[in-house]
Every structure is written in C-alpha cells, then in structure tokens.
Symmetry: C3
C-alpha cells in the first residue's frame, strides 16, 4: 500500500526551508500506521536533509562547510553554464543528497526531538522546487 503526493516550494535563493509539517501532513493523509516516508526533490541543485531543528546557526554553519568543500566559482570547475554557483550547487546536492527517508510508526513520522526535514536550496537565485513524498506501508 502506498500514498504519493507532491508539492512545490518557492525558495529565495541559497538557504533552508523547513518542510517537516508538510511531510507530516501527507503522512497523516496516507493513513498508513507503520512504514516509511520518502521525501525526494526532482532537481540536481538542491537537497532534502535532516538536521538539528533548534538553532538556525547549525544550518548557517553547514553552509560554511559546504562552501569550504565546493566554493562558488572555483577555478577548477569546467561546468559553469548557469554561473558561479552552478557547479557548487551540484556538488552540495551530492553531499547532502536528493532524498531522505523517515520511518513511520503509529501513523506519524518517527523523527527524534531535534530532527527537522529541510529543503536546502543550493542556487543563489530564487527557484521553484518540486518535492515528491511517497509513503509505503
């Protein structure tokens, strides 16, 4: 048994948007007691990630570390079709991934107290991002 629903997010450039509530709503609508909820972005320059939901400084520090590994406009890049942040965005998408899966129990997301689900926009400009949530029993 499975339930699938998509939604769109309008990002304002690089940074994170919490989507835990949207995903939790879809899980409840699925009416599935025990299973897994998968959250997937149909893009190669943004990510879905699970991280600490209390202090926004954590997400700022993750930006710092991501930029340290894959800086914008690195002279080593050969791919720069869409600008200085283009290849950096693909690299961050590899680091953080394009999907997360969360167990579902008693019809709810089994996240720990400090875990939140975030869409992480890696491009510097605003984008519209499509998120597909699939709940499996």
């Amino acid at each position: 048994m499975s339930h699938q629903q998509s939604f769109e997010i309008r990002t304002r450039g690089r940074g994170t948007t919490e989507i835990t509530a949207e995903v939790a709503r879809i899980v409840r609508a699925a009416g599935i007691a025990t299973g897994i909820a998968q959250v997937f972005v149909q893009h190669t320059s943004c990510s879905v990630m699970i991280t600490e939901n209390a202090d926004p400084a954590v997400r700022r520090d993750l930006e710092t570390l991501a930029a340290r590994w894959a800086p914008d406009g690195d002279p080593a890049y050969r791919h720069d079709t869409e600008g200085e942040d283009d290849m950096a965005a693909h690299a961050r998408s590899l680091l953080a991934g394009s999907a997360v899966s969360v167990p579902v129990g008693d019809g709810e997301l089994l996240l720990g107290t400090w875990q939140g689900i975030y869409l992480w926009e890696h491009r510097t400009g605003a984008q519209v991002r499509r998120v597909v949530v699939t709940v499996l029993a």
Copy 2:
C-alpha cells in the same frame, strides 16, 4: 506489509559500532522474503553508514577525513552550545547521513561480502542512541 523494531545503543564517544547482526536479526524476525530494510537514527549528531567490514583502519581513516572537512572547534562555527564537537557532529551527520536502506532477498539482508552496517557516533562523549529498523515487503 511492514515490520518495525527499535533498539538502543550505548556508545563510548566518537567511533563506530557494528550493528549488522542486530539488523539481520530484525529482518529475520520480520519474515519478509523480498523488500527493503531501513535503519534510521533519531539523532542529528550520529550516523548510520555502510562501509568496509574487514579492516578497522578504514573507519579510523574515515574519522580522519571527516575531521579534515569539519574539525572540532573550528573558529568559523557559530553553533557551539554543547562544546567543540557539537557542530562538527552535526556536519558529520550530514556527510554520512542518518539512515541506510539495504535490500532484502530470500528473507536476508542483501549485503555484499565486505559491507557492514555501523552506527557512527560523532560526539566525543558517551551517548545513548535510538535506532529504528523498518522492513518493508
């Protein structure tokens, strides 16, 4: 059809604990012939990962590389509420992830010969970690 079971692990600070046997036991208890087993930690400062199970030096080298990217006490961090290893632990959690999924066939985990499942503690102090295993048919 799904089967879910949780267990706790007492870590002794930064380092890895193999959990392949515990996961395999839950998969067998599930009585599911073909499907997927997902292993998820409800924390943002430890990871579950699949890596080489023969030479412990591999996991020590992964520590070295993780520390290279996200050192403890980096002056760039703004988040340090719980000490020098706090932000480094969240970063390592992003790098290695908070879940792995392994295919199940003939009722067993379809791991390769050299693959082991590890809980990777990223905090320097001992912790109690909760692991949720969900097996889907």
Copy 3:
C-alpha cells in the same frame, strides 16, 4: 508487493556509467504503479548517485571535488591494502553513498528532467559491480 532484480556492470576504472535506462526497465517490468525504486551496490568502493545528466563536465568536476577531500595515496591513510586508491575509494563511497531511492508514479521513475542515475566507480582499475534494484508498492 515488491519486485527485485540484479544486474552486473563492468566498469573501466574510476568514472561514471549511466544506469537510468536499466533501472527504468526493471521498474516497468515490476508492474508497480506507485511506490519507490531502490538502487543498491553491494560494494564499499563504488557508489550509486543521482546527478545532472546533460553536461558530462558536472561528473568530471565531482571527481575533482571528491579527490580534493579524499586524494589517492594521502599520507594520513592507514588503510592501503589494495593500493593508493583503496582508502580514497571507501571515502568517496561514504560521500556519495551506496544506494539511491527514486519515487515511482504511474509505473515510471519520477525523476526530474535533469536527473540521471549513475554508477560511480571509485577504484582506478576495472571492476565488475553488482547492482540490486528493489521496487516496492
């Protein structure tokens, strides 16, 4: 309901091989309308990843960044049983992961326009790699 099928890939050393078509074929054979397809490698020195499928320079740049974080023959490595690329390959396997999961809708992989599924060989020599695809409804 689940469907599982494996295949082998002969790599020619470090680099990427697109496997989107093979995975799509297995998804179609599964006859599952809505669900998830998981693609898993039974090895700790290669990866499966989703990345941009238009410009091959993206994958070359990912090699550059992977090598920056985990260079071959780094003097810090203690594990070098199989040569200079051995530990680097395990590290890259952690960075990119050993599995991806893609939602299935209307019986097809719900990939975005620019997303492709790649086997990423991390060893410098040619290898035979086993890929397990599991489709869950």
